[in-house]
Assembly symmetry: C2
Homo-oligomer: 112 residues x 2
DNA sequence: CATATTCATAACCATATGATTATGAATTAA
DNA sequence: TTAATTCATAATCATATGGTTATGAATATG
């Protein structure tokens, strides 16, 4: 067993994912995409409170982390949330099996 | 409804939490605490692969985020994982109610 | 063709962050 | 009391990060 595989918390994909989620502006963008569905950069810029280039960069980071998809149509780029991308987060939280899972279920009631 | 409460993704606590989790070394420390239970800095340093001061700083950040507790005993400080601290992450993932929750349940099978 | 729109990238800046070594405070042990 | 242990903090450094404005490439429109 290698050092890498033994220590799942240092997995590169997981790292990228958590890093992508660690910024409020990016989480807000993601939330918008989940709420409103596929959006282009222009629309996301208006709702984001930051400049268009910054939105593009945030979206690029979300894409690299697997949290959004991009679809180019003419001069517009349409971004959409990629729910599956959260898989590693779930997996990380379940990493110790029963321990987290129990709390997990217990806390799921919070969602309402 | 305030701007703050409307935009849950920019909540300061959530931000601190995700930021705390966004570093592999910190996640590894947290994993160790979950697996092995309460540990002092010395023990955590040996398993972390970074210097003792860095471990102290990472632990401080985890503590500020509510993910660990610290108990001073003589010259040693014993840190423990604080499972409840993950609440906001769960909450964030459930933020859009049914949408995430469905995927949530679907993905929970991954944990095995 | 000329102009406007949409987006990404470049250049730049300030600050945050992860890491190190050095140091110092507090506690324990000799 | 002197020495060793444990931990946190300071000083320092390199790099990453979030933000801006400027620019340029591609596409659509007059």
């Amino acid at each position: 067993m290698t050092h890498e595989s033994r220590n799942a918390d240092r997995d590169a994909a997981t790292d990228a994912l958590f890093k992508a989620l660690s910024d409020g502006t990016r989480r807000a963008l993601l939330e918008t995409l989940v709420r409103e569905g596929e959006q282009n950069v222009q629309a996301l810029t208006q709702v984001s409170g930051v400049s268009q280039p910054m939105v593009s960069r945030h979206l690029a980071k979300l894409k690299r982390a697997g949290l959004v998809t991009a679809r180019r149509a003419g001069r517009e780029t349409w971004y959409a949330a990629r729910v599956k991308g959260l898989g590693p987060v779930i997996q990380w939280m379940a990493i110790h099996g029963a321990l987290w899972s129990q709390r997990f279920s217990a806390l799921e009631g919070l969602s309402g």
